[in-house]
């Protein structure tokens, strides 16, 4: 067959995935592409090249981290600043260990995680259906858009004191603040996602005489999925900020509270422990979301979205 060559677009798609399921489809040994040796060869060598590039990127990343930490460590040892201002990176693990052993760290962590998960899930549970509705229905969009635009332009943090007034100093206010900041990236990307579903695809549905429900469920929804995931990923980062912000407005425990009180007590090492845990959470959860995305939208991995 003449057209068995993979299109350039297809291999670019595989590139974006950075390995994993999509790329597995190019394994020549298992695909019918084996019958045309030349393209297989090209695909294979490209794959090797990409793996090399990836490995090089990884090495550079590690070098960067190690160098910065080494410089930091060396600077602290040479200049010996007060531990109130900054501590050496080597002091952080011991601070972590002390906090962890006492059970204090786990307490802060679990309180924050509970608030985070609740807030994030509430945001997703409201933003995704609402966004799908606003994306698919002109009328819903017209009614909802002024609110969305106005609230999105308002720094959500400014609304945090209101939640404290309404809901008190406990968990509900924290959850509400986290949900609020996570809400906007999800809903905006979901709406965009529905809008981005090509008109052609919707017309295919109409021409096949699919009813409205089918056009929505079989075309709009799967078409918007990559965007929804982008929104969820952006929301993740904002929700982590939300954890800290919520703790600023009164808390008895939580990672933000740990950072805040430690800094007030000049326990700078403990501040770094809190910050690093938040950073690790961000990386870990983003990775988890990517895995989920690869599983749920195997045809495509990501699209760029707005915050």
């Amino acid at each position: 067959m003449a057209e068995q060559l993979a299109r350039p677009g297809a291999s670019a798609g595989a590139d974006r995935t950075g390995g994993g399921p999509a790329e597995a489809d190019y394994r020549p040994a298992e695909t019918p592409r084996q019958t045309t040796p030349q393209p297989v060869h090209i695909v294979e060598s490209e794959k090797v090249k990409r793996a090399k590039v990836r490995r090089r990127s990884l090495i550079r990343g590690i070098v960067s981290v190690v160098v910065v930490l080494a410089v930091w460590e060396a600077a602290v040892r040479i200049f010996q600043p007060s531990t109130v201002i900054i501590v050496a990176p080597s002091a952080i693990p011991s601070a972590f260990w002390t906090l962890a052993k006492s059970g204090e760290l786990w307490h802060h962590f679990s309180v924050s995680m509970r608030q985070f998960l609740l807030g994030y899930l509430v945001a997703a549970a409201i933003a995704i259906p609402l966004g799908l509705w606003m994306g698919a229905s002109r009328r819903a969009h017209d009614y909802g858009d002024p609110w969305l635009t106005a609230l999105y332009a308002t720094p959500s943090v400014a609304l945090a004191p209101l939640f404290v007034i309404w809901l008190g100093f406990g968990d509900p206010a924290h959850v509400a603040i986290i949900a609020l900041v996570a809400f906007f990236p999800v809903i905006i990307n979901t709406i965009d996602g529905v809008h981005a579903v090509e008109r052609d695809l919707r017309e295919v549905g109409i021409a096949f005489r699919a009813n409205k429900r089918e056009v929505f469920g079989r075309i709009d929804l799967p078409g918007a999925m990559p965007y929804i995931f982008t929104g969820l990923r952006l929301a993740l980062a904002r929700a982590l900020v939300g954890i800290v912000v919520a703790d600023l407005f009164g808390a008895q425990a939580g990672l933000g509270y740990l950072i805040l009180t430690s800094s007030q007590l000049f326990q700078t090492a403990n501040v770094f422990v809190g910050v690093l845990i938040l950073a690790a959470l961000g990386v870990g959860l983003t990775f988890a979301l990517r895995v989920l995305q690869k599983y749920l939208t195997p045809w495509q991995v990501e699209v760029k979205g707005q915050t």
Partner: protein
Amino acid sequence: MATNSTEHQTQTTSSGGVVVRELSKHYATPKGETLTVLDRVSLDVRPGEFVSIVGPSGCGKTTLLRILQGLEEHDGGEVLVDGQAPGKVATGFVFQKASLFPWRTVQRNVAFGLDLSVLKDTPNRPPGKDGSKERVAQLLQLTNLTEFADYYPSQISGGMQQRVNLARALAIQPSVLLMDEPFSALDAQTREKLQRDLQKVVSEIGTTTIFITHDIREAIFQADRVFVMASNPGRFVKVYEVDEKHPRGAEFQQSDRIAELSREIWGLLHAPKPEVPVAL
């Protein structure tokens, strides 16, 4: 104004035929003027017939197809697809863009129409899940896609995507197949191959087909009759019969008969316009 449209008054209005009588379509231009895209166009396609329509760009061929498909309203005249109003009958269509669903694999794309509730209780839907599966498998076989059943559209070539598109259109066993420059985005070699593939598929299934293109040779190669359109306003100017058995192969594709006929049609399409504009 009298048009040159050639009317073929065949007596058939039975299943699978298309009847278009005195069809007109107007658009409002941004300036507020009325643009006549189709001016009292008539066309009669017999069941099982393959009709090609050629014409310059902007002559309204695509508009005609969209009306037949029920995607656009018409302003005057009568249109019957398989004896019913457009949009009421299962029509298959293949456009220039394959427009496959990127989230569905090749075989799930082909099965798309079969999943829809509109086919329920019609003879177009095969009985049960097994029936659907079998039909999809048959179409994949017919379009040489069996090996690629589990690929996503982004992983296959443009020519293959267009074959998936064709299989998807045929899966609902449409009474009429509408094709709008399906191969024009492909390279010449792939295009010629797909033209032969289409011959094979359509002659096996025997679906009434209306095929729009601006490739004259392609139009002749496929069709029982070639309708030539002119623009401003869109109308038919001549009809050519192509007397050759289906399925037609590479030999006919390269034959002198096609070359001759195509020269003639080319001449017709490129004839100088009347110097005095025809009054509307």
